[in-house]
């Protein structure tokens, strides 16, 4: 009676609930009372059910990417995780490569004088689950090897292949404006669960009767299922072909847990909600226009599909209830169903669970308002942490240098016999010449924040020139392999045209699309730059602000006119920047050097360059001088 046992946990699935108990669809049950609450309950149930699926097939589903802040909700989920009948290994982000991949156990080796190997966590996790707390902070070296292990089903160590198949549970606590889990890993984890909007009260209401029977049913999926899955993924703008495959595995596992040998609608609906919908990059209706704009960080859900200002048939976000009605064709053996009908059902199921801001993101297109949710693309963290460790070098500890014990022992090891250590019980003989110290990356990456004034006053005739200057800056930042972040300001407020990126092509694209005209919301731009800088600094990136403006602010933070107020606010934020001590460069776009601009530049603590005298050489020099620690 597997199916019956599962029913409570399967409850979130509207189709399942309806079919099994004859009750109306869960989501539309409370007429208008609290659809959000019902939605949260459904989410919570899906999250619990994801655990059951994972328990059944840890490896083939890849794992779970859980986005949730620390709190009672996550704790409850983690308890359920701990209750799984599977070995669970927690790996801290500070794990070193020997422990991660497996390697020499130096302490034991030194003690016994014989080679002692330790199995890596990736190997030990075989057949179970690997849990990564604060997964978003994991170093690329770890996430990359983890992705590789997932791909190959084992660890390759010095030419020796050790099979290891496990599921990953990545706990991601990143805030909206922070870089989430590494994209390469996101891509490979099948189930994306977002509990950020689930209130603790939901838990109390939701009965969590989770069962962990391992289903043995062999589930087969017909061609129509495959077609529907692929079609749905395509309709949602999901490019990666890993995703439909993962969705298929999830659907099969879901069916297996319900004791079915075929994939039914509710299995597909579940796969849609947990695998496809969170990865959606476009609103399903308007697929054709969007196909070409797939952009870089394809696995980063937070990045907007760039450019297109037109909203694909801006369908108002469908109420969940609306979709359930479409799900009605439900003869259990799905092999006979047309893939089109299945796909329509799945698109509807996915639409109910699309990221709430997707529509908004599509509408705002290139110009996401106050782009907090943009944050940084995941890869931006690559190489961005201050003091990334480098291989140790010989040297004396002290004066800021820390002793690298392992490397020191390593250096001492071959000389033990020479130094007369014959008995393994004797302590290892280490001399000063063996000392190795930690080294850290000297160069901290920097990011140019370009704030470009496109207002009527400064720009109309000089905008092209300003863009030219920006081009020069971009070329130089390319040479330095800096990243850039572009803010445009005109009209009522400043906009983040492009969150931090290393793709200068995108930066240029963002700029060329910027029209001119309107007021000068300088304060808003400086404020936005300030926020961006704080965020960059948290990632260990030093921000450099480059303002291209004549400094004649005339729009206040509230977006209202008023020169005096606007100027005062601009000066306030300029001083705020100056107080942080970050570098800055002010390029005055006025035809004649402006005293206001000079004054603002001074308050910013920025170098001042009037544009008429701007030459590429001078600009390069100015930028170089502006850099901290040149």
């Amino acid at each position: 009676m597997n199916a019956a046992a599962q029913r409570p946990a399967g409850g979130p699935d509207p189709a399942a609930a309806r079919r099994q108990s004859g009750s109306p669809p869960t989501a539309s049950m409370p007429p208008n009372k609290a659809p959000a609450e019902a939605e949260a309950t459904a989410r919570w149930h899906d999250a619990l059910f994801a655990l059951q699926l994972l328990a059944q097939q840890p490896h083939s589903l890849g794992g779970i990417w859980l986005r949730a802040p620390h709190g009672p909700v996550r704790e409850a989920w983690l308890q359920a995780l701990a209750a799984l009948p599977l070995p669970l290994i927690r790996a801290p982000g500070s794990v070193d490569s020997a422990r991660w991949l497996g390697g020499l156990d130096l302490a034991a080796t030194l003690q016994t004088g014989r080679l002692q190997e330790q199995a890596g966590l990736l190997r030990q996790a075989d057949g179970g689950l690997l849990c990564l707390p604060m997964a978003e902070r994991f170093a690329p070296a770890l996430t990359a090897t983890l992705a590789q292990t997932l791909d190959r089903g084992g660890v390759d160590r010095g030419g020796r292949f050790e099979p290891s198949r496990f599921g990953v549970v990545a706990l991601d606590e990143s805030l909206d404006d922070e870089a989430p889990l590494a994209p390469a890993l996101q891509e490979r984890l099948g189930l994306w669960i977002d509990l950020r909007d689930v209130a603790p009260s939901t838990l109390a209401a939701a009965e969590s009767n989770v069962q962990f029977d391992i289903a043995t049913t062999e589930v087969t999926a017909g061609d129509s299922i495959l077609q529907a899955l692929c079609g749905t993924a395509l309709a949602l703008g999901i490019d990666s072909l890993r995703v439909p495959l993962l969705a298929l595995q999830v659907a099969c596992a879901h069916a297996g847990l319900h004791g079915r040998d075929h994939v039914a609608d509710e299995d597909l609906a579940y796969a849609c909600r947990t695998v496809l919908a969170p990865r959606a990059r476009q609103w399903p209706a308007g697929q054709s226009e969007e196909v070409e704009v797939q952009d870089s960080d394809d696995a980063v859900p937070d990045s907007p599909p760039p450019t297109d200002n037109e909203t694909p048939q801006a369908t108002p976000e469908p109420k969940p209830s609306q979709d359930e009605s479409k799900e009605s064709p439900e003869p259990p053996p799905s092999s006979g169903i047309e893939p089109e009908a299945l796909q329509a059902m799945m698109v509807a199921a996915a639409a109910a669970r699309l990221p709430p801001d997707l529509l908004q993101r599509l509408m705002t297109g290139a110009a996401p308002a106050r782009g907090h949710s943009q944050g940084t693309s995941g890869q931006a963290r690559q190489g961005a942490q201050r003091g990334r460790p480098l291989p140790p070098r010989p040297g004396r500890p002290g004066g800021g240098a820390r002793l690298h014990v392992l490397a020191t022992l390593r250096a001492a090891a071959p000389r033990q016999r020479l130094r007369g250590r014959t008995d393994p019980s004797q302590p290892v003989r280490i001399r000063a010449e063996d000392f190795h110290v930690h080294r850290h990356q000297q160069h901290t990456p920097s990011c140019l924040i370009l704030a470009l004034d496109a207002s009527g006053s400064a720009a109309l005739h000089r905008l092209a020139e300003a863009k030219g200057a920006v081009q020069l800056l971009l070329e130089q930042s390319y040479a330095r392999r800096d990243s850039v972040c572009v803010i445009g300001f005109r009209g009522a407020q400043a906009q983040l045209l492009l969150p931090m990126t290393r793709s200068l092509v995108r930066a240029r694209r963002a700029l060329t699309g910027l029209p001119g005209g309107g007021g000068t919301p300088l304060a808003s731009a400086l404020q936005l730059a300030h926020e961006q800088a704080a965020q960059l600094q948290r990632q260990g990136i030093s921000p450099i602000l480059v303002v291209l403006s004549d400094g004649r602010a005339n729009v206040t933070l509230q977006g209202l006119g008023g020169r005096v107020q606007a100027q005062a606010e601009a000066q306030h934020w300029a001083r705020a920047w100056g107080a942080t001590g970050h570098a800055g460069l002010w390029i005055d776009t006025a035809p004649q050097p402006e005293t206001i601009a000079q004054q603002l530049a001074q308050q910013l603590g920025a170098r001042y360059l009037p544009m008429p005298q701007l030459q590429s050489q001078r600009l390069a020099q100015a930028l170089q001088d502006a850099r901290p620690g040149r």
């Binding site: 083939s60 020499l104 030194l110 004088g113 014989r114 080679l115 690329p140 070296a141 990359a144 090897t145 590789q148 791909d151 190959r152 010095g158 030419g159 292949f161 994209p183 390469a184 891509e187 061609d223 495959l226 077609q227 899955l229 692929c230 079609g231 395509l234 490019d239 990666s240 072909l241 890993r242 995703v243 439909p244 495959l245 298929l248 595995q249 196909v291 870089s296 960080d297 394809d298 696995a299 693309s377 890869q379 690559q382 190489g383 480098l390 291989p391 390593r410 250096a411 090891a413 071959p414 033990q416 081009q471 070329e475 390319y478 392999r481 290393r502 793709s503 200068l504 092509v505 240029r508």
Partner: protein, 350 residues
């Protein structure tokens, strides 16, 4: 070794599979750079590469997989002790030979220098007090392929190292009290998404061919990809058995092409075409011409032709030249299109 997805079962991605086969025919073309989004089958194709290649003869027990046929490139261990034989051509005691599959080595992002270059062999050091070298990934990749996923995100110090080794074919180790060199000739295969970060031009130049991949937007094709992958995941052994013949046929094709390669003729006209094309595109140096020439020749051999034709050139030019155009880093025009355009001009003029 883990079972890999059979190369013959890869659906679509013609440019990528062609480039890989061409490089398999003539490794001297250099590596392949695959640019594109995640989930397009880049890694699958590269890891399946081993299927295409017949096993190679190596000196038995040699950690560097020395080639017994090339005495000049032997590692220190395999070289005859007196060092005379190689130069004078005298009969040396025959080196024992064994057959091993070609290595396809994965270099993960964030690998340490130790792992890539090799390091002191701690086992020997500790148990016997002997200072010896434990070869790293570069040694493993000798005479095989070195695959770097997300190559554009590779740290600069590793990039420097690779650029050097890829050019010299030799890994110089001067660290941890070790001082040695060993052969490391490999074909570099990289993949990545250019929008996440640019590649250094020097590294770009080390790749012979560059292909741009996109996921197929055709539903039937996508379904087929997922279907095969699913079948593979369910039962890898059975799936491989099913594709065994097709894989064998592919391998035979490569082997035959390799034999035919030396006999493929290239007319002077075609050489002129190559040169004119590169001139018009303004590629730096002569490497572009050379690579283009080798690639077209390998393609002709692969297709069983005796002579290189303009058609081969047409196929290979975008792959061989796309990444070599001197370009403005801010220019986002597709380089492939520029190559095609110049190609048409040149062919029309001829």
């Amino acid at each position: 070794m883990a079972l890999t997805f059979p190369f013959a079962a890869i659906v679509g991605q013609d440019d990528m599979t062609l480039a890989i086969q061409v490089v398999a025919v003539d490794p001297s073309i250099g590596g392949v750079l695959v640019l594109g989004d995640r989930g397009t089958g880049k890694s699958t194709a590269v890891r399946a590469l081993a299927d295409l290649l017949p096993p190679i003869d190596v000196v038995s027990g040699c950690a560097y997989r020395c080639d017994p046929q090339r005495p000049a490139g032997l590692c220190e261990r395999c070289q005859p002790a007196d060092g005379t034989a190689t130069t004078k051509g005298k009969k040396t005691p025959k080196l024992p030979v064994e057959s091993r599959p070609v290595a396809v080595v994965d270099l993960p992002l964030g690998a340490t220098e130790d792992r890539v270059v090799g390091a002191l062999d701690l086992e020997k050091a500790l148990s016997q007090g002997i200072k010896s070298f434990a070869p790293g990934l570069l040694a493993q990749a000798h005479r095989g392929f070195l695959y770097i996923d997300e190559v554009n995100l590779l740290e600069d110090h590793l990039v420097d190292l690779l650029i050097d080794v890829a050019a010299s074919g030799e890994n110089l180790v001067e660290r941890e009290g070790l001082s040695l060199r060993h052969p490391a000739r490999f074909v570099l295969v990289g993949s990545g998404n250019p929008e996440e970060g640019e590649l250094r031009p020097q590294l770009l130049d080390r790749f012979g061919l560059a292909v741009q991949v996109r996921t197929p937007q055709d539903l039937a094709l996508r379904v087929e990809v997922v279907r095969r992958r699913d079948a593979f995941e369910r039962n890898a052994q059975a799936f491989r058995a099913q594709w065994q013949d097709a894989n064998q046929a592919l391998q035979q094709r490569i082997v035959k092409a390799r034999k035919r390669l030396a006999a493929v003729q290239t007319s002077d006209d075609l050489l002129m075409l190559c040169a004119r094309l590169c001139q018009q595109l303004g590629t730096d140096g002569l490497r572009a011409e050379l690579t283009l020439l080798r690639a077209t020749r390998a393609l002709a051999a692969l297709q069983g032709h005796k002579e290189v034709t303009a058609e081969h050139l047409r196929t290979m030019a975008p792959l061989a030249l796309r990444h070599r155009l001197r370009r403005n880093p801010l220019d986002d025009a597709d380089a492939g299109v520029r190559v095609e355009r110049s190609l048409q001009d040149v062919l029309a003029a001829a």
